[in-house]
Amino acid sequence: MPIRSILCAAVLLFAGAAAAQERRVPEGIGANVADGYARVSLEAFAGATARLHAGLEAVCAEPTREGLDDIRAAFADTVRAWGPVSVLRFGPLVAENHFERIFFWPDPRGVTLRQVQGVLAEKEPETANVEGLAGKSVALQGLPALEYVLFGTGSDAIGTGEEDFRCRYGAAIAGNAAARARELIEAWSPRAAFHDDFAHPGEGNALYRSPLEVAGEVVKALGTSLQFARDAELLPALGETPSKANGKRAPLWRSDLTFDLVGTQIQGMLALIDVAGFGEALDEERQAILDALRFDLEHTLGALEEIEAPAEAAFADEQDRGRIAYAATALQGANATVSERFSAAIGLTMGFNALDGD
């Protein structure tokens, strides 16, 4: 073949389409999100996991019924702190499979249950310490695994001291999550390369070259989280018809924390939108799009808060089912708003072919 130069023969294509766009993204969006959202939510999560870890170690040393109750409450706090963190599904949270190691979900084939039951049966000492656990399957390391340890069949024995291994395995999971939370804080701290790139987008950066590119990452994270909440957390348990409802297909049904999880994720998204400062850079007409997005998210939250039955039963309960279906529809609406109208409003052109996974 002919020898070709590295540069294509110079031809300018569609130059008009590349005209400069008016800036509708807050200049400081990266710093806003890094310092006002990422680190704040991670600090809360690190605190919750550290308390859970310490509490579990105390109960393992001196088992009591009250101690177990406190641990279960600390687990609920941890899940609620995870909600806002889980929304940041890019950068540090994606590295080294941190997300899956902290919260392995969805799990349609029941890998977590099968593997955790195996661990509890075999009582391999290595699984019951933080370092040993880090080398095991991701499904054994996260909060869904810990939920089974603390709320699944036989978990009451943790409070009576009859399940010493189970207690120490639980403590290892909490310790593992706490260690990961600290690593994530480090990655988002001003000392770290990722923070520098994200908070100070510029021409020389490896990843983010402009505030608009940072905004694109945030908008994509919002869209991913909205889709995840609906498709992976709510709809599988809801089923197409009431007879197909199965609360046991929802995350964290044993601890009845399903709606706390989804709810705190939505609270996180609302906070992220505010902290990012999107509103500041938009005119009144475009503000209305942001308001429509908030409206959908707030009504989703309202519907979830009204659910009365425990998660295991709620998906099949006529009234609660209506609330969950409403929430799913509102999440879908919010996702459409984010990926279409809101993206366009801030000057992002989300391509027709930009969807992941094709």
Partner: protein
Amino acid sequence: MRSTAIDRRTFLTLAGSAAAAPRAFADADMGDGALFLGARLNDGRYEAAVIDEKARDILVLPLEARGHSFAIDAPRRRAVAFARSPGRFAVAFGMADSEPVAIAAADNRHFFGHGIFTPDGRLMLATENDYDAGRGVAGIYDATDRFRRIGEFATDGIGPHEVVLAGDGKTLCVANGGILTHPDYGRSKLNLATMRPSLTYIEIASGGVIDKAELAPELHQLSIRHMAVDGAGNVWFGCQYQGEAAEQPPLVGRHRRGREIELFLAPSETQRRMRNYVGSLAVDASGDVLATSSPHGGLVAFWDTATGKYLCQRELADGCGVAPFDRGSVLATSGRGAVVKAGPDIVSPLRTPGADKPSWDNHLRRL
């Protein structure tokens, strides 16, 4: 039952189009010029469109939902359009006859959006998800009997995406992307921590896997998804990286049976702009130039198939579809309606982008 309902809807969609489609067939310019086939969203409607080398519509087939790619039977001037994953419909249609045939996904299977015809035109094979078992299969369809599904064989991997016919005409090469999905969970990726993509070579006559190539363990999150075969019979593939954005591994690779996989990097700025995502590949008519599209970065990169050397890039916002045009060029389409003849030495716009133009989907094929 889900499959039956979709099947009926496909027929209704096709019935509704009966007035338009045959007319298009009748008017079709059946000269020997090149024809190209792509899925698109046009004025709110999903369709498959055949265009000529001047980007004029020759035939338009309505689809009930978003399409993806096509199995092409060039000698018999027909094709099968597949739904986008996790799709449950496909439609076979020809340039010479006017009766499209709806193909519903089998129970507990969905299409991934790609397929091929055997050279004799007797069989059509499609990549599918056996989602309850979490394994990839190739569905086998009798193209002489209204595309009746007559069987399947395992692709020896998870998430098979594109499939191409090897140069011998008897062997399939399947890109097992490695990503586990289940339609109950939408498009959520279920196994990012443990994914293990591969290329498998399958003998069509027996369904047996005769060769398999995998990436180095540290690249296990590099999902192999799309392929094209060059003039020397090498399989080129394009990847989508599921790991951290800051890592920018090579996204383009070459494989020849009996050898190790080779990976090729673009210059760092181009590599960065590809955003860890290659959407589609095509080899030009000479077999010497490979084109890879990166819709996220809005560029088509060109590579020398003999050496793997990166040649250059062309800007094409939201550009993804690429198909062989002539020596040294491909036809490329974009989600903004652009249709461009492009290569290292040429750029010739046939359609300019515009808000009122059809949004071309990921893949363009030459009929």
